[in-house]
Symmetry: C2
DNA sequence: ACCTGAACACCGTTCAAGT
DNA sequence: ACCTGAACACCGTTCAAGT
C-alpha cells in the first residue's frame, strides 16, 4: 500500500528530498549521496525519488544548488581591494570540495557540466564586483580571469591558510600592477 | 581449474594488468576502470586482480603512474621563457583529465592522495626547471607557485587554446615583471 | 499524480578452497 | 604463490502495477 502523499504540495516534497540530499552531501560527499540510501532515510521506496529527479545527477545538481545559494548570493564586503579578493577566496574555498566533485561528474553528465559552467559564471561575476567596486578599473575582464585562475589554482594545493594568503597576495599584487 | 601462470614472472603479470587498466582509463575514464570488467577482459576470475592490488585505488594509482611516466620525465625545450611556460601548460593539460579524477578520489583514498601530492611535486619542479633554465632568477619559488596556480586555474576553465594562451601570457608577464 | 515491489545489470571486496 | 567459485552488501535505473 503506497503512502498517500498526493495532498502534500509537490514543492514541499521536492524540498524535503533536496534538503536531505544536501545533508548527505555535506556529511560524506558524493559517495554518501546514494539514491537508495536516501530513499530509505526518507521512509520511501528506493525508487520513489525517480518520480522527481530523472537521474542521480539531477538530484546532485539540485542539492549543490541548495548548498551554494547562500554562498553565491553574498555581496562583497567593504575594505581595500586585496581584502575583498581574500574574501572572495574564502567563498571559493567554501565551494571547493563540492566543485571538485562537480568537475569529475561533469565529465559524464551534461546536467552537471551545465551547472558547473553556471556556478563558475556566478563566481566570476562575484570576483568582478569585488574588483571593480569603489575603484572601477579599465579593462577589468582579463584581470579578473587571471586573478580567478590564480585563486582557483591556489585552492587546488593543500596549503595552510597563511601560505595560501601569501601566495594570493604575492600573485595579486603583481597582477594588478600595470 | 585455475589457470597456471605461476611460472610467469610476477612483474610481467602486474604490467599486463596495469597496461590494460591504463588503456581502459584513457578510453573511458574512471567509470571504465572496473576491476570486474578488467578481469574478464584479461580472461581471469573477477577477483584475481586482488592478488596484486589490495584495492581498486591502488590499481588506479599504478595505471595513472604508467600513463604519466612519459609526461613527467620530459625535459623542457629551449627558447624564451614564456614559450617554456606554455610548453609546461601543454604538459599540464595532458594530465588534466586524470588529475581531475585523482583529486576526487584523493578525498576517500589515502593512496591516491599521496600520489596526487607526488605528481604535483613533479610538475612543480618541472615548472621550476623551465623557469630557471638559462636565466636563473632570485627567489624563484614564490614565483613558481604563483605561475603554477595561474596555469592550473586556467586549465580548470573550458577555454579554447587561444584564449587560454592569452590568459596565461597576460598573467605570466605581470607575475614576472618587477 | 504519486508511490511501491520486484527485478536487472552492474559494482568492490572477502574468503574458503584448490593447485 | 597464484587463482577460482561463490558469496556479500551494495549500487543506479526501469517497469508494470497499484491508488
Amino acid at each position: 500500500v503506497p503512502r498517500n502523499r498526493a495532498e502534500v504540495a509537490r514543492d514541499e516534497k521536492v524540498e524535503e528530498i533536496v534538503k536531505a540530499a544536501s545533508d548527505r552531501l555535506l556529511d560524506g560527499g558524493y559517495p554518501a549521496l546514494s539514491v537508495v540510501d536516501l530513499s530509505r532515510r526518507l521512509g520511501l521506496a528506493q525508487n520513489a525519488i525517480y518520480w522527481y529527479f530523472p537521474t542521480k545527477d539531477h538530484l546532485f545538481v539540485a542539492a549543490v544548488e541548495h548548498i551554494f545559494n547562500e554562498i553565491l548570493d553574498k555581496q562583497p564586503c567593504q575594505g581595500p581591494r586585496i581584502d575583498r579578493v581574500l574574501w572572495f577566496v574564502e567563498r571559493l574555498s567554501e565551494c571547493q570540495d563540492l566543485r571538485t566533485t562537480m568537475r569529475e561528474r561533469a565529465r559524464s553528465s551534461e546536467v552537471v557540466a551545465a551547472f558547473d559552467r553556471h556556478v563558475t559564471g556566478c563566481l566570476r561575476s562575484m570576483l568582478l564586483r569585488a574588483l571593480s567596486q569603489e575603484a572601477p578599473t579599465a579593462d577589468v575582464d582579463p584581470l579578473a580571469d587571471a586573478v580567478m585562475a590564480l585563486c582557483e589554482g591556489a585552492l587546488l594545493r593543500e596549503l595552510g591558510n597563511a601560505e595560501r594568503s601569501d601566495l594570493i597576495r604575492f600573485g595579486y599584487e603583481r597582477l594588478v600592477s600595470p
